[in-house]
Each structure stands twice: as C-alpha cells, then as structure tokens.
C-alpha cells in the first residue's frame, strides 16, 4: 500500500467526524444537554439568584394542582382548535379558486395571500393590536359604520382569544393556500372532465373529487398548523401577554413567564418537561397519521 493510498484511506475515515463536529457540538451544548438539564432542574427549587435545591417530585404535585397550568393547556388547545380547521379549509378554498384556469393576475393574488406569512409575529401583533384599538383603531371605523358601540377585544376576556385567532388566520392562511396549490397540481384533470360529463356540479366536484384527492396535503398542512398552534408565543407576548387575567395564557408563554418574569427556574422547568412530553405525544400521533397516508 503506497503512502498516498494510506493517507487517503485515513482521511476518508476521519473527514466525516470533522465535518459533523461543529454541528454536533452545537447540538449537544445548546440542545441535548439543555433538554436533559431541564428534566433535572424541574425536580429542584431554584430561584433566579439562588442555587438549585433538589425537591424530587414536589414541583409536579404543584403543577397538577396549579389552575393556571391547566388553564394554559386549555388555552393552547383552544387556540389550536380555533386556528387549524379554518386555516386549513380557507387555504384549500383559496387554492381551488386560484387554481381555476386563466384567472387574471393569479401571481399577484398568490403573492398577496402569501405576504403575511413572511411578516414577523411581532410586526403582525403590533399591526393587529392597533387595528383592535377601541378608540382609534380600524375596528372603530367598522363599529361606527354599523353603529355599534366600540369594544376592546384585547382586554375583554371572552374576546381576546378570538382576536388572536383572527390575527393568526391572516398570518397563516397563505401558508396552507400555497401548499394546497402545489397539491392540486397533482390532481388529474381527467377526473373533473369525467365528472362534468356525468353532470356533476361545481360543489359536487369539490366534495367528491378535490377533497379526497388532496387528503395527503390536508394531513400535512394540518400537522404543520397544529405544531404552529402549540408553539405560538410571539403573537401572544406582543398582543395580550397572556391577559386579560389568564384568558390567553398558553403553555409556552406560561413557561417563559414563570422563568424570566417571576424567576422561578425550577417550576418553569417542570412545566417545560411536561410540555416536552406533550410534544412527544403529538409527534407520535403525527408519525402514525403520516404512516396511514
């Protein structure tokens, strides 16, 4: 074996480790180790200034009897259930309309619907906070037009979450619309032609052909939107900060608040651990759904 061959064979073996090293080190230090540490800190009493004190499962006992924790879970489900079906269905509807042959300005429409998707949640939250402003907001114009008394959506417990959901729909419909547009390309045109010959109307074609044919896309979009729903933070942080009361407190925001506003690192980690297992469960469900399709 020549020397050149020898080094080449060696470099072939060493190179991959060098190539993955920077990535893996960052992963270990800022992802894997923190996850494990979160589990541990969750079993301690730790205020932001002191040192952690091991307390076993005390925090978990506290969590299960913490009404705000349960409230935050309910709110997370509420937000997700309020956003996902609408953004999925309206996205599909928009995509079907846009997908008609020879609609003028199609690229323009698509760009308009998609534009909010690239806007940051912070910017969107600010714009919509100002839209909902009870004194000078855009909603005010609408109220005075219909002669209704102005309502402060964001500071009314029953209306704050619907306001967040509305904002989210503006932000997210473009996403599902674009994915559906791609999904619709895969539906063979012959199906529609055959249905037309059989005398099916537009509505029947939509329910009997389009919806079944884009089912894989629907699964995919729904999964992405559920993930988004469970992890929403910025929008709520900017628009309501969980209020009024705890009416819009969701789980990720509660974790943040406990840790960095109230300095309860131990208990916040308990909540984070619980959230980790909720995410795990969600992932397993998803994998199952993905396999079914």
């Amino acid at each position: 074996m020549s020397f050149k061959n020898f080094t080449q064979k060696n470099s072939h073996k060493i190179a991959p480790y060098i190539f993955i090293a920077p990535n893996i080190i960052v992963f270990m230090v800022f992802m894997i180790i923190p996850i494990l540490f979160t589990f541990y800190i969750g079993m301690t009493e730790w205020s932001i200034l002191g040192t952690p004190e091991f307390t076993g499962l005390n925090n978990y006992e506290r969590m299960f009897s913490d009404p705000v924790f349960w409230r935050s879970l309910v709110n997370t489900f509420y937000y997700t259930a309020g956003t996902v079906p609408f953004s999925v269905f309206l996205g599909l509807l928009g995509a079907v309309l846009l997908n008609q042959k020879k609609i003028p300005f199609r690229p323009f429409f698509r760009a308009v619907f998609f534009a909010p998707v690239v806007v940051s949640m912070v910017a969107a939250g600010l714009i919509w906070t100002w839209i909902f402003n009870p004194n000078y907001g855009l909603a005010n114009i609408i109220y005075s037009y219909f002669n209704v008394e102005s309502v402060n959506w964001l500071s009314t417990p029953e209306l704050a979450m619907p306001a967040l959901i509305l904002t989210t729909l503006w932000l997210r419909i473009g996403y599902s619309l674009v994915i559906y547009l791609a999904g619709l390309q895969a539906v063979p045109g012959e199906l529609y032609e055959a249905a037309e010959i059989d005398g099916a109307n537009t509505w029947q074609k939509f329910w009997k052909i389009t919806i079944p044919m884009v089912k894989p896309t629907t699964t995919f979009v729904a999964i992405m939107e559920v993930i988004h729903g469970f992890m929403v933070f910025d929008l709520i942080y900017v628009m309501t900060n969980g209020g009024p009361g705890f009416s819009t407190t969701v789980i990720v925001q509660y974790i943040y608040q406990k840790a960095f506003t109230e300095g309860e690192m131990g208990y916040a980690s308990t909540l984070a651990t619980a959230f980790f297992f909720i995410i795990l469960l969600l992932t397993l469900i998803q994998l199952r759904m993905g396999r079914e399709k």
Partner: protein, 295 residues
C-alpha cells in the same frame, strides 16, 4: 376565445380530446371568482394599508374623533422622527449582523454535516442522525432555562455570538441538506477521489456547486427565521444596544406611552427587508415551503 385557449391547452398536454365548451356560463363563473379573489385580497392587504396609513398620519389626526382610513395629509417626516426617537437604526444593524452571519454559518455547517451524513459510513452515524432528528420538534421554551445559564457561563449574554451560534443547530436545515446530497451520485465522488481530491475539496468543488437550489432555499429560510425571531433575543439580550428589530419593537410596545404613528413607521421599516427578500426570491420561497414544509 375561451374555447380556443382550452383547446390549446389540451394540445399542449399532448392529449387529443374534444375541447369542452364553457361558453357564457364559464365566463360568468370566472368573473365571479375573479371578483371574490379581488375582494379577499383587498381584505388581506388592509392590515398593511392600515399600518402605512397610521405611520403617515399627523398626531392630531391619529386621535381625531372620527377615525379615517386614509390620512388627509401624508406626514412622511414621521419616519425620521421615529428613527430619532428610538435607536432603531442600531436595532436594524444588529438584526442584519445576526441574520447574515447566522445564514452564512448555519448554511455552511448544515451542508457540511449533511454531506457527511449522506455520503460517509462512520461509526455512530445513524444514532447521531436520529438524535438530531428528534430535536426537530423541540421549541426554544423547553431548552431556554439551561441555555440561559450556559450562555451566562460562556459570557455570551448580550453578544452576537450568543445570538447566532446556538441557533445554528438547526435540525431542519441539516435534514434537508442530507436528503438533497443523497441524490448526488456516489460515482462522481469516487471519481474525484481517484483524481486525488481531498475530502474537503470534494465538498467544496463538487458538492457545493451541485446543491445550489438547496443553498438558495436554506439562505432564504434561515434569513427569515433569524430576522423574525423574538424568543431567542428575548432570552439572550437585556442590553438595549444589542436589541434586534423584533425585540426593540416588542419592548417599545411594552412601554407605558406608545406613540402609534412612530411605532407603525418602525414596524413598516422592520417589514421592508423581509418583504424584499420575499418578492425577489418568491419562487425559491414557495418551492422550499412545498418541498420541505419549513417555516
């Protein structure tokens, strides 16, 4: 005309089928759809118009008893006033530094590691890759408490390093890079090796030029993620001089007195860079979304 274009389309598809005549009802249907789309897209644009309209209102008009949709006079100087009132240019600068360096670092490291995971057999490869994949679904909130302490120990709080480096561990990018590089034929790599190319040279001269579309998608998405991100800067940064655009905006809103003309002017300026990226690279954007489901 309708009939002709329909017929043409069938021809293009290489199918010989009698064209279906939609006639008048087809035209009416299309007009209705067009009108619906126009109305809905106007509704979608309203928040943007409202943002601009507020940014250009005079303070007296902003608090007038009747709210107007389009301002009577356009006060462009609001933008300058807003820039003077808040150190927003500094925030913009920070965001640019963070986003651009994060893009360069993340794209390079993801492609490099993706190459190794795709084209080498080494011990622990599959285990490591599965571990990385498992973190796909983990949001920042689960790791942020230990990360805060790790960054504190490293003295990385309030630094660009703290803002950029931890976020380069991006499972989506790595996953995508590996998938894409898998499709490059092994024979090309073998041929380069026989020609005496070193391993890094293979990556640099052979792999990188062959994955340009992937790099385009990764650049755009990493830029968008980092530009729009709030939670990470919120944890890492407390010094106002290190605020990013999103953090600065969120903090301005949290102040007791909020000047909404100025805040909307700043919001407008915060959206412009990402909108430009979107408009210029729209195709990559949508392609990336569709093929990977990122965002």
């Amino acid at each position: 005309m309708m009939e002709k274009s329909e017929a043409l389309q069938y021809k293009e598809n290489g199918k010989t089928r009698k064209s279906i005549s939609y006639g008048k009802s087809g035209l009416i249907k299309k007009s209705i759809i067009f009108i619906i789309l126009s109305i809905v897209s106007f509704i979608f644009l309203i928040p943007f118009i409202w943002m601009l309209s507020t940014a250009l209102k005079s303070p007296s008009e902003l608090v007038a008893s009747t709210t107007s949709f389009i301002p009577d006079e356009l006060v462009w100087s609001n933008f300058l006033d807003a820039l003077n009132a808040a150190p927003f240019l500094g925030y913009l600068g920070n965001s640019l530094i963070v986003s651009v360096s994060a893009v360069i670092l993340a794209v390079f490291l993801n492609c490099l590691a993706g190459f190794a995971f795709a084209k080498y057999n080494f011990k622990g490869r599959d285990v490591l890759f599965i571990i990385v994949l498992c973190t796909l679904m983990i949001p920042v909130q689960i790791t942020m408490i230990p990360n805060f302490y790790i960054l504190k120990q490293l003295d990385w709080l309030n630094t660009y390093a703290g803002l950029v480096i931890p976020r380069t561990a991006e499972a989506f990018g790595l996953f995508l890079a590996r998938q894409y590089i898998l499709s490059i034929p092994n024979s090309l790599i073998e041929a380069a090796r026989i020609d005496g190319a070193g391993e890094f040279k293979i990556f640099y001269k052979l792999i990188l030029p062959n994955i340009k579309p992937l790099i385009g998608v990764l650049i755009i998405f990493n830029f968008m993620w980092r530009w729009n991100e709030l939670i990470w800067p919120l944890i890492v940064v407390s010094d106002e001089r290190m605020y990013t655009v999103q953090l600065g905006l969120a903090m301005l809103k949290g102040e007791h007195y909020v000047d909404w003309t100025q805040l909307m002017a700043l919001t407008t300026m915060s959206i412009i860079p990402i909108m430009l990226v979107f408009l210029f690279f729209q195709r990559y954007f949508i392609k990336g979304l569709v093929t990977s489901g990122m965002k």
